[in-house]
């Protein structure tokens, strides 16, 4: 199987909503057994097409004799990767983009399909970019999402939409219990990986499965975004304290909380999924962390034994993920406004339950990886209206400004005299 074929198979699956792009891609690449370079190319095609889908589709429909909805998902996916290569990738010669797509069309369509794909892609190659009529199509975001972002961020709207279509840097957090940012950077560089440290967050050039690295196996780092890092940092746990991370898997923030206390706090990690508990445990073990206890628990309900016991609670709640579109572009096509309504209810219940674990002078940190104010400041505003808490501060990180995930972080206490 070629990288293009693998990409088309993944796109076909995601288009039918059978799988998320990241898991479908992982599975397909594992089966295909391609070189690292081909893996990177297949990944580029899948994410590129998902990122720019509406714009690519508009271009296809402009040059196509047939309506898009009359095409099979296979042919449509083949056309999409073809157009993506022609118009978004300078590194691929046009003849290669066209010929390889025609080959795939022969395999996944009938005789006429190959001719049709050939005709459309030749026309695109000759005609090139065309004027894209709407902001939704230009930035490939569904209308509801464009409306939401533009009404909430009128001055930054186009910058946010454009940033969502860029590729996020690959970052990891240094395990300061085992090494230092400097030493870890040196170690990466010895293996030919470019590494730049910004405090405890290191940006690296490595593509693919980071867990294969020796440094990973030795527990010297954990993949983590800077936004997530700053959310856990706001908790600031001290040795001897009890900290609860209520939505903990896979444990990036959990292990950070332990690390920040020099592995001397007691960190309780809840997650609703039993299979994710072992993931948290494995991460803690790999990193040489002993202060984490992971438990299966639904954060929207109250675990009685911890009521009134915690010095701090981190509620990094499930959210729409609209701050991580760079990493998971299919969020644009899979999330809907009604999903978000449901998720806001869940966020409110989790925050209310989280507050119950605090001692009287406890600190509560609420975070999400979305830029949607309805899930962020609106949720914390609603919370402080109903509970005797106050916002110490809140911060919205934005990919185009902070070059990290679009995290929202709010620190809450009840300590005004």
């Amino acid at each position: 199987m070629t990288s293009r074929e693998a990409a088309v198979r993944v796109l076909q699956k995601t288009e039918k909503n059978e799988a998320y792009a990241n898991s479908a891609l992982k599975e397909a690449l594992a089966k295909a057994g391609l070189s690292a370079l081909d893996n990177a190319f297949a990944t580029e095609l899948v994410y590129g097409v998902i990122r720019h889908k509406m714009r690519i589709d508009y271009i296809i429909s402009h040059y196509s004799s047939q309506k898009l909805k009359n095409l099979s998902i296979w042919i449509l996916s083949i056309l999409r990767i073809g157009v993506y290569q022609l118009l978004f990738l300078d590194s691929v010669p046009s003849f290669a983009a066209i010929n390889e797509s025609v080959k795939l069309a022969k395999r996944y369509g009938h005789a006429a399909s190959a001719g049709f794909v050939n005709a459309v892609l030749r026309a695109v190659s000759k005609g090139g970019e065309i004027k894209i009529p709407s902001i939704e199509q230009y930035y490939s975001h569904p209308k509801w999402l464009v409306d939401m972002i533009c009404s909430q961020y009128p001055n930054d709207c186009k910058k946010i939409l454009a940033a969502n279509n860029t590729v996020a840097p690959i970052t990891v957090r240094v395990n300061t219990l085992k090494t230092t940012p400097q030493l870890l950077c040196d170690s990466f560089k010895k293996s030919g990986i470019t590494a730049t440290a910004d405090g405890e967050i290191i940006t690296i050039s490595k593509f693919g499965d980071l867990s294969l690295l020796e440094e990973y196996k030795n527990g010297l780092f954990i993949p983590q975004d800077k936004g997530a890092y700053l959310a856990a940092k706001a908790v600031n746990p001290k040795p001897g304290q009890l900290v609860i991370d209520v939505c903990a898997a896979p444990g990036g923030k959990t292990t950070q909380l332990a690390q920040m206390s020099d592995d001397k706090a007691k960190v309780i990690a809840f997650d609703i999924h039993p299979h994710k508990i072992s993931l948290i445990e494995r991460n803690a073990e790999r990193m040489g962390i002993g202060s984490v206890t992971a438990l299966v628990h639904d954060a929207a309900t109250i675990k009685e034994e911890y009521v009134g016991t915690a010095d701090s609670v981190l509620a990094d709640v499930p959210c729409s993920g609209l701050g991580i579109i760079r990493k998971k572009p299919d969020i644009k096509w899979t999330k809907s406004p009604s999903d978000i309504e449901q998720i806001i209810k869940l966020q409110k219940s989790i925050l209310a339950a989280s507050a119950k674990y605090l001692k009287k002078d406890g600190v509560l940190v609420y975070s999400t990886c979305t830029i949607n104010k309805h899930e962020n400041s609106d949720v914390t505003d609603d919370f402080i209206k109903r509970h005797p808490f106050e916002k110490v501060w809140e911060k919205q990180l934005l990919p185009h400004i902070d070059n990290c995930d679009g995290f929202y972080i709010c620190k809450l206490i009840r300590r005004s005299f």
Binding site: L230, K360, E390, V392, W393, K411, S416
Partner: protein, 162 residues
């Protein structure tokens, strides 16, 4: 009972030293009731009389274990051990900062019946005692803040002082 207006930083009453209550009369009892209601309505953990514009040595506190009323309170003992932690003030809305406070503090005061009592608080309650008694001296917590809490707490801007 009535909700009173909480004065905000900049108001002269917050900078004045308060006088002792000479006689616990109806006006003082009403003041105690109003202060408790005002404190609860504002989600505060404590309130001192000057914060509602009355320059008398009267304090109410509720850190979660019930209402404490203090008339003419004095700190009699504080621990050497301290805690550096976040606090805020109902008279300084929107600002929180780190203040070093004794881990435990003991106050002697009169209750609403004029009976003297002594009480020791730890952690949050010790912090509340210290904060409120400073209000009675005309001092605000802002004078003791070592650093304010804001988003820079997680990511200090380059060149900012630690």
């Amino acid at each position: 009972m009535a909700i009173r207006n909480i004065l905000k930083i900049g108001d002269d009453a917050l900078n004045k030293k308060c006088r002792n209550v000479a006689k616990i009369d109806g006006r003082i009892l009403t003041l105690l009731d109003d202060m408790a209601e005002t404190m609860r309505q504002a989600s505060g953990l404590g309130l001192a009389a000057p914060q509602v514009g009355v320059l008398r040595r009267v304090v109410v506190i509720d850190t979660g274990d019930g209402l404490i009323e203090l008339i003419n309170p004095k700190l009699t003992e504080t621990s050497d051990e301290t805690i550096d932690d976040i606090e805020g003030c109902l008279s300084v809305p929107g600002k929180w900062g780190y203040v070093v406070r004794p881990k435990t503090a003991t106050v002697r005061a009169l209750d609403r019946h004029g009976k003297e009592f002594e009480m020791t608080g730890e952690g949050l309650l010790a912090r509340a005692f210290c904060h409120e008694l400073e209000h009675l001296e005309g001092n605000l917590f802002t004078e003791k803040v070592s650093r304010y809490c804001d988003p820079d707490e997680i990511e200090p801007k380059e060149g900012s002082e630690e």
